[in-house]
């Protein structure tokens, strides 16, 4: 275990029971580590357990078995105030920004909510801070008066990021946070995240099905399949390092613009 490890999952399991009483193993014996300031990627297809894992880290879903060590303490059984503090330490950014907003709450109302809820500052202060945060993510200060439907998806995602970072968490979990956005907007959001990470040094769990995106921003990548981690890729070149057959299948499903002619030929052959 590295010195500066901030989060460690040891043999974490999550089982769901369906209507017939059968057990579905969503997450099975998963062990991962996350160091301070590190960005780890979790990739895999739909239903592989990526999002369940994210929810476990954020303590939104209880584990069935296993240990989660956060800053040296087991957080599996956290309750009450300690749990509330944990919610502050781990922030999550979801896929669809529009779903995270209440349609009848202004952007300002959304931004100040955690600061008021966690009793970090009073409302007036929080509004001032909200404006600072908007400025930080490149949005106009007047946006605090706007409603979510007046903003584009990319702008909303910036607001979500602003709030997540404003609370100064140790870990930010991005669950497919750019997959609802256009590539050009995705690039802006990723650049914003990277720039903010440089500044505030949070650790990042980046969940995506886009292998190329994961490769471009993550220090390490875990490949998940049917609830299990099948491979960890340490370097920054998935194609060269991938050994597990499942990772190779995933790679063969990627449509690359760079390589369009070669792939096209394979199809005919």
């Amino acid at each position: 275990m590295k010195q500066n490890t901030i989060l460690e999952l040891k043999d974490v399991n999550k089982h769901f029971r369906d209507n017939d009483g059968d057990i579905f193993k969503a997450v099975e014996d998963v062990s991962i580590t996350l160091a301070k300031g590190e960005c780890i990627g979790i990739v895999g297809e739909s239903g592989c357990g990526k999002s369940t894992l994210a929810r476990i880290i954020a303590h939104l879903t209880e584990v069935s078995q296993g240990r989660i060590i956060f800053k040296g303490k087991d957080i599996v059984k956290l309750q009450g105030d300690a749990l509330k503090a944990h919610y502050k330490n781990v922030q999550m950014i979801f896929q669809s920004p529009l779903d995270t907003f209440s349609p009848r709450m202004t952007i300002g109302g959304y931004l100040i909510e955690p600061f008021v809820n966690f009793k970090l500052m009073n409302k007036k202060k929080a509004y001032e801070y909200a404006q600072e945060l908007l400025d930080m993510v490149g949005l106009d200060k007047d946006y605090i008066k706007k409603y979510p439907n007046e903003l584009s998806g990319g702008q909303l995602q910036r607001v979500v990021i602003a709030r997540a970072i404003g609370i100064k968490p140790d870990i930010i979990i991005c669950d497919e946070c750019t997959s609802a956005l256009d590539v050009s907007i995705q690039k802006q959001i990723i650049n914003l995240l990277l720039a903010l990470k440089e500044k505030t040094d949070f650790s990042n769990v980046f969940i995506t099905h886009d292998l190329a995106l994961a490769e471009s921003i993550c220090d390490r990548i875990y490949v998940m399949y049917q609830g299990e981690i099948v491979e960890m890729i340490e370097g920054q070149n998935i194609v060269e390092e991938a050994k597990h057959p499942y990772t190779k299948i995933l790679l063969s499903s990627v449509f690359s613009v760079k390589n369009f002619e070669n792939i096209g030929n394979q199809r005919i052959g």
Binding site: E45, V183, I185, N237, F255, K258
Partner: protein, 261 residues
């Protein structure tokens, strides 16, 4: 070469928003796959919805003609459209879950959609439906026919939707982001199904996607749209290796790529 579809100076206006697509000229050849790419709001979806006459009531075709097999289908009335839609031109939507009726079994929906257009018995329709499902690699066709939409995965539902579109052997399939709700592995399957459609049934396809990789993989030609206008329309090789417009270059540069490719 004779064209299957020709669009001539088409402009569509939305109430209060002005022209969402402006002076569009394009054509689709027989057996051709065309990829339309562009950002959200560039008018991709409006364009193909205009082709199949499924525009929202608040919109209006200001000018232009849509010629399908030498007939101007823009002037068609409701009855003519009922015959044309699905029979000759079919559409596949982004979210198959929204397109299938949640409380009717797949089999019943499928048979209904076949019998709406063909005067055949239920038993015959069932046989046809199963055959098409199997062609889409939904091997357990009995189970699929007996399932409600929620019992199928996203990829399976999309394959059912494609099978239903295919049942009438249309000459042109319009696919609006057919894979963007699916993950990479399922996406690859669906894309390959669409390609084999063209290879086996000579169907022309217009695929609208924001995934330029998908467009590059499956289409013969790529059209790039920006703010309601076509800014690039060429073979995929030209568009990807030698884009003319700055916009296309930026779009291509924004795509994350695996280093090892």
């Amino acid at each position: 070469m004779c064209k299957l579809l020709e669009i001539k100076s088409l402009t569509v206006r939305y109430d209060g928003e002005g022209d969402v697509i402006k002076n569009i000229n394009m054509d689709v050849g027989y057996k051709e796959i065309i990829g339309i790419v562009g950002e959200s709001g560039s008018g991709k979806t409006t364009l193909i919805r205009t082709i199949i006459n499924l525009l929202a009531p608040s919109s209006e075709v200001v000018s232009g003609d849509i010629i399908f097999e030498d007939k101007n289908i823009r002037k068609y009335n409701k009855e003519a459209w009922r015959k044309l839609r699905n029979n000759e031109i079919a559409m596949i939507f982004q979210n198959p879950g929204a397109y299938l009726n949640p409380i009717i079994k797949i089999g019943k929906q499928f048979v209904e959609s076949i019998r709406n257009h063909r005067d055949i018995s239920k038993a015959e329709a069932i046989i046809q439906a199963k055959a098409i499902l199997e062609k889409m690699h939904l091997d357990d066709s009995d189970r699929i026919m007996n399932a409600y939409p929620f019992q199928l995965s996203g990829g399976m539902k999309q394959r059912v939707a494609i099978a239903m579109a295919l049942a009438m052997k249309p000459k042109l399939i319009l696919a609006d982001e057919p894979t963007s709700a699916l993950d990479v592995k399922t996406q690859a399957q669906i894309v390959n199904e669409l390609i084999s459609l063209r290879n086996n049934f000579d169907t022309s396809i217009i695929i609208v996607t924001h995934n330029i990789g998908v467009a590059a993989y499956m289409s013969d030609r790529i059209i790039v749209m920006n703010q309601g206008e076509i800014v690039e329309n060429d073979t995929k090789k030209e568009v990807i290796t030698q884009p003319k417009m700055e916009y296309t270059k930026q779009l291509l540069a924004a795509i994350p790529e695996l280093k090892g490719f």
